[in-house]
């Protein structure tokens, strides 16, 4: 059974604009699947559908074989525990009025009894927060700070720590490095790559930056105008059978 199955998903808005058309793909455990496309092509909408924060018109999304659409909020909870997200803008992903430690504790407290930690251990709050901060290579003293006292790259590390704190099976990374400068970008991508291996989790890595996707993922999907036009193993990126749009994207990076 696949970890995630997206079958014939359609999404349009009331004004008739079609955002996603017939999206089909599946993801295996421990895999990093890349999704690349220009802005407005529907990448982030797809992420929101998988996260169940927006509904869709047709098709189905199955997580470990279970349909997610139309479930009650209560019965969704075990799935929410297993699907976490890291978004593009870390400044808006952290509550400015909460100390870093309180933001980091939030998922653990939310999902309480559902959390079954393998990698981290929960002895005390301070100890747990310390482990999380260390894992994302931040000093333990940051626990007491507020988001505005951190740089963009540091804030993004905190949102990563928060996403991994309950050891989800799938993390959706929606442009996690795009708002950072190149040096922080490289550091964050390297951190994420290492974490996937230690934590045995899967990533859906969304980006407009083909080179970052190439670096992170094993498989790559290319999206254009709400349709997945190409899907292939990373090694086959430069093969001649690639879709013309994929080739166009490649040419922009050379």
């Amino acid at each position: 059974m696949s970890l995630l199955d997206v079958r014939n998903v359609h999404k349009s808005y009331d004004n008739g604009v079609e955002i996603l058309r017939n999206v089909n793909f599946s993801m295996e455990r421990k895999e990093c699947l890349g999704l690349v496309g220009e802005s407005g092509c529907g990448k982030s909408t797809l992420a929101r559908l998988i996260l169940q924060i927006e509904s869709f018109d047709k098709g189905s999304i199955l997580f470990e074989g279970t349909e997610l659409q139309n479930k009650s909020e209560r019965s969704l909870k075990p799935y929410r525990k297993n699907i976490q997200a890291v978004l593009q803008n870390p400044a808006s992903a952290l509550n400015p009025k909460l100390r870093i430690k309180d933001s980091l504790m939030d998922p653990y407290l939310q999902f309480g009894s559902l959390v079954n930690l393998k990698y981290f251990t929960y002895r005390s709050e301070a100890n747990f927060i310390g482990q999380l901060l260390e894992t994302v290579e931040l000093p333990r003293s940051f626990a007491e700070r507020y988001p505005h006292e951190l740089s963009g790259g540091q804030k993004q590390r905190v949102t990563i720590a928060r996403a991994i704190s309950i050891e989800p099976a799938l993390i959706i990374l929606d442009e996690p490095a795009s708002s950072l400068d190149v040096l922080s970008q490289a550091a964050v991508l390297k951190l994420l790559g290492g974490l996937r291996e230690t934590l045995d989790t899967s990533y859906l890595f969304i980006s407009h930056d083909l080179s970052a996707v190439q670096e992170m993922s094993q498989r790559i999907m290319v999206m254009k105008g709400g349709v997945i036009v190409d899907s292939f193993e990373k090694e086959r990126l430069f093969c001649s059978e690639r879709h013309s749009y994929t080739k166009e994207l490649i040419s922009m990076f050379e």
């Binding site: 400068d181 190149v182 991508l189 930056d209 080179s211 093969c239």
Partner: protein, 265 residues
Amino acid sequence: MSILSVRQLHIMGKQNDIVKNLSLDVQEGEWFALVGQSGSGKSMTAMAICQLLAPNLQAKGEIWCGEKNLLTLSSSEIRKFRGKRLAYIFQDYQGSFTPFLTIGQHFDEYQRTHLNLSKKARRQQAVNALISVGLNEDIYGRYPFQLSGGQLQRVSISMALLLEPDILIADEPTTALDSVSSFKVLQLLSKLQKETGCAILFITHDLRHVRKYADRIAVMKDGAIIETGDKNRVLNHPQHAYTNELIQSSPSLRRIPFKLEGVSG
């Protein structure tokens, strides 16, 4: 001949120096790239050139544009330089436009400040400028929020080049755009530069954006330029460890030959 010459520029904040002893020369018609990570003082340098710094920041040194030292000019004198001799494009395209004015009204304000044209001539000039950056005539009547980021950035370029400035200061014009739009904007800038012959001071943190178009590169770190040189020299034989680090971290597509079908393919 250099169009813009910055000599020993210091920018001082309340507590610390933001830019220290910075000197650079931009030659006529060249694409000069100023590269560095966030907080290195790139934008502050750009802002100091036209006296656009916040009042709590002080600039010292000399900035020569032709026969004038821009730092010594009064606010009415510097206005004659802005737009006509020096023009800007900023990273934040949303902040460059007033949300309740149409694109046409933005053009009109700009033209009435700097030129003496009839209403009809102003409109014609604006429409021509929009067409020159690959936009449709109907953009003239639209509001900023009705345009995409890439389109707005094109409008700012067309407006910045309207008065044929000697130098265009482009402060991270593609950083907020996705890679497809930024590719198109860069291509457009390079085309327009060839047509108008204006120099470009291009500020970025991403070396990928300058690999193709820049003539010379200066690398900035902690408020000072640590390395300047011809593009190929800096990219292929960086002298400074930090430059090398920047080059290594800027991601590029790696052409890994596909081993299984490497021979046949």
